[in-house]
Symmetry: C3
Subunit: 451 residues, 3 copies
């Protein structure tokens, strides 16, 4: 029996996610009534950077399921200081110590790596700026509870859309569920291009200019963008010169400025959007729930804490039942009815060449000793690939075949004939030559060396 992990929200099918929501609902209605489900099991919190809230949420979930908890709240200054690799630590902790591992790590891709070496389920509780799938599930679950559905609802994302991991994951997930997203960034903190590109490529989302006048003050200083998985010809019915009009919003999702990731250390927040009574008075927000992943600073005024639309504390409290659902399913204590499993997209190893991942904080770089580069194929022509750990797009100019020892340009038709497991990536011809590869031809199809 293979062990199932939760490294990315993409590891779960939509049907499974809906089942998890229903399960979370059952737990939420009686938090203390399920203490037999994980009785005798142990979860281990391996936190390589502190995150008390996330840790307590998982540990509460496990305790409420009747399980035990091992806590390593500060792995970085303990085991890691003795020079142990993450791979080794995970092999040990998954060997008898615990029945599930909850991992928080500052390097992107750390949870993917851990899942490769663990004999028990690994749950990604945040890997650098990459993913935090249980936070995303919690956010979706809140929408599902508050709105009854996710498909077709209108969600405003406001604030720092550039540096917030939470926002990016949430945007992908909303697109996957078919929700419409209105981006209202603080100027200078717009959604990055690579996020928009992935939304377009993977979910068919086309950014449209939005008429946000009815959103009021919250969007006054933004160029609002409308992201919808609907087809352009459907949209054209509603679009006019000022863009798609935002009429009625289901949810406003605020984020704090991620100052720790700002190039200037957060010194220049400009006119950071702030949500107070005045902003909430906008006509289009009359029924909108207000969400925030917390902790907040000043972007949500305390004056709206008692507004029935403000659900951010409720949102956080729902982290417990949704994590109970995840823990009980991954440990096998509860079986989902859905049998259709999402095929995990295949990871291919790159056998030669330098590590083509450009991300300096990717686990494939920070734990280079034990980790072999791996990638996922994004497109064939031109060849584009993402790091199998941190999902950054790989950077290279030449592609080699490890059996024929030939290299080709990225656009060469020859590449299509090489099996993905035989692909290798090179920064330039000199690197390829050093690795013993020869130029493979003009890429016009005439020098194919492999079927």
């Amino acid at each position: 029996m293979t062990v199932r992990h939760l490294v990315s929200i993409d590891d779960l099918s939509l049907a499974e996610i809906r089942e998890l929501f229903a399960l979370a609902d059952r737990f939420a209605s009686d938090l203390r009534g399920h203490a037999d489900l994980c009785r005798g099991m142990i979860s281990a919190s391996l936190f390589y950077e502190p995150s008390t809230r996330t840790r307590l949420s998982f540990e509460s979930a496990m305790l409420r399921l009747g399980g035990g908890v091992l806590t390593a709240a500060d792995m970085r200054s303990t085991s890691a200081s003795k020079g142990e690799s993450l791979a080794d630590t995970v092999r040990v902790v998954s060997g008898g110590y615990s029945d599930v591992i909850v991992l928080r790590h500052p390097s992107e891709g750390a949870a993917r790596l851990a899942s490769m070496y663990s004999s028990v389920p690994v749950i990604n509780a945040g890997d650098g700026s990459h993913e935090h799938p249980t936070q995303t599930l919690c956010d979706l679950y809140n929408l599902w509870v508050e709105r009854g559905r996710i498909e077709g609802i209108e969600v405003v994302l406001a604030g720092d859309l550039r540096y917030s991991r939470t926002i990016h994951s949430f945007a992908y997930a909303l697109a996957r569920f078919g929700a419409n997203v209105i981006c209202v960034p603080t100027p200078g903190f717009e959604l990055p291009d690579y996020v928009v590109q992935r939304l377009r490529e993977e979910f068919g989302v086309e950014p449209q200019r939005a008429d946000a006048s009815r959103l009021g003050d919250i969007a006054a200083r933004s160029d609002a963008v409308y992201l919808t998985p609907q087809k352009p010809h459907q949209l054209s019915l509603f679009t006019h010169a000022r863009g798609l009009t935002v009429e009625r919003v289901d949810a406003v999702y605020m984020t704090r400025p991620q100052t720790e990731r700002h190039p200037d250390g957060g010194r220049n927040l400009g006119d950071y959007v702030r949500l107070g009574k005045h902003q909430l008075a906008a006509e289009s927000l009359r029924d909108a729930v207000v969400m925030h992943p917390l902790p907040r600073r000043d972007e949500i005024s305390a004056e709206i804490d008692d507004d029935p639309r403000s659900i951010y504390f409720k949102q956080a409290s729902r982290g417990v039942p949704i994590r109970m659902a995840i823990l009980s399913v991954l440990t096998g204590s509860v079986k989902l009815e859905t049998t259709s499993r999402v095929p995990e997209s295949r990871l291919h190893r790159t056998a030669l060449g330098d590590n083509p991942c450009p991300n300096p904080t990717c686990i494939s770089r920070t734990e280079a000793r034990h980790v072999h580069p791996a990638y996922k194929l994004a497109s064939r022509a031109p060849l584009r690939a993402h790091c199998g750990y941190c999902s950054h797009e790989l950077q290279f100019t030449l592609v080699g075949c490890t059996t024929s020892r030939r290299v080709y340009g990225r656009d060469s038709l020859e590449i299509r004939k090489i099996r993905p497991d035989h692909l290798s990536f090179f920064a330039d011809a000199a690197v390829a030559q050093t690795a013993g590869f020869e130029p493979g031809g003009a890429g016009d199809g005439r020098s194919a060396d492999e079927q």
Copy 2:
């Protein structure tokens, strides 16, 4: 149903405290026999400063009651570093994560603030130099076990009586229970005036000079003071020129020098009192138990550790059953028979003006963003009030009425007519004027503006 907290020992009536003692006795007689009482419940230790002993004592109590424990032993360097307010943290942790919160915080009044935002019981495990009610309950419980009663017994307080929070709370509690206190401070570390004042005002305790000759060496360098709730005319029977004679002591309560709070950092401890075999040989101490809140340094010699009167380790171990009693009652697992609840003295908000609390480490100052100043009325003429969080006496010269927008001197008779909820405090006339208040008259009763 309202949630009940333990922020101050004053939150409990004497009858309730006696019931808690009886309950603790039941637990102490069979520490492992009550593991069903809190089964399925979770306590969260939120410690904003380290205190391993206190934390372990609470966690042991919860585990012995069959509950689970969430531990955040170092909140200051984790969540708090992300800028989250205590109020927000408490709202999250009390929302599904846990069924009771044990809070330790360096700011005075933090537990009071937390109790205002928590949907589960908050237990104050120490708020700066303010209160530590479970330590006080543990000390009282020890007296009750060792002496069979607290009323009328004779307790010596020795050492640093000036800077020890434990001592101050203990002195109030002893006075409330009708015990007699003999203060034997190290010179320079006498009980502060404001503590004596509160003892006098609230419990009718009159300080008397004490003849401590029979206390022997322990009091040789002190001007001993006798604090008794008995009426002066009763005392006169026993008093003579040298003061009330200390005949027979029931308990000696030693404290370590609180060097971390000394203005000189503890460099000058002078002739700090030290308890050893020689000191314990005093006639009046023949039956006295020796107590200490621990940790001790040199103020109690190891040579008396095996003396049957030395109960300080027993004292610490009784912290578990008394905390079991508190946890089981606050979580509703055990119901007290006493129905007479202490009316919590009312907190009034100050709507205008600067924060009149002079204490720089009060939570109303350190979390100014989310906390509104609040006060408790101490006396009407002259008007005196205490900070509703840290209990420091508020500092102001003028008092305003927020409906009439008039200000008066502290002694003005007009003030009596203003409803407490409409009171506002000002440092001086300029501040009042800036806030839009006008002088309200001579304070001779002729210009009343409110009935």
Copy 3:
């Protein structure tokens, strides 16, 4: 009923150790099936230096037995910072807080001290460079599982044999069980003389030169030494000029360089032995299991991780069942059938003189306030003694009798007549004189002053 501790592996008889192995086997076969054994009990992890792996292993064991866990992962920076002695902390934590204490401390002898003051079992989870008996038990248990026995097997110890506590304890234990040891140190990191001496004195082990040619590359740069408890005349049958030939090895035990204890801080590791595919190909290692206490750095190549002989991760995972066995026996949850108890070798107090222990990190020096020097007698003529805490050999030139107040040279026959409890040790005559001792005679037996 006396409380039983596990301070040293010598606290257990061989028969008891074998029973613990059988018990561990039972636990290992069904890790989750024994959650009733310690139900209602609490173990306290008191860690004065971080060691996440060891701590998690113990805590997992206790949770799997159904008990609760109190965690103080960083005692040094909390309670200890308030100046509390280890003795006091242990008295408190063993008083109601917990039913067993797991102690990790940087000072040698700390666990011995703790056991003197604890009212519950103390388990030594590492005291400085001294002992770590559960690690040793885990290592022996692995050999027992993998080889079916320990007596007579051939174990290679490789790497840093000088600075590794684990290796020294393991060597003693192997000798005690009658195993043969082949030392293959990295040059400069040979087994210290005092270890060899103890092996000789206590277990009759005679070091022999070893012919390690069949060990291949792993021993290429070492002067291999064969340590066997077999009698010399038996060995002579197999010995020739090149030394005892190593034919077939049962286990290779690798250690990392203990750089933190190297005088040069680990800057010069020379040609540190490294185990990879090439080394494992040696004929004599065909059936050898490869062990390592972890964490490893580069001394074991990841390329052999999947070799079936590599059991180092399995070895770590067996730490849980062996610790379950220890916890269940010490807490009295499981009774061993063996009734023959190892007599704990008697500790004698030294009443006078300076502390003769030369080890600056011995607990008898670091906690001098509460700890009285104590020793174990090693030999009578000449008088040799070991520190009762850290096991270092005491350093002195004169021996005194505390009743006759006379001192003698170490070789004096008079000393034999002095009762061990009356012995006192002095650096030189001046120190003895200051303490009020007079020269006791020529040590020729004529001036005996005590029978």
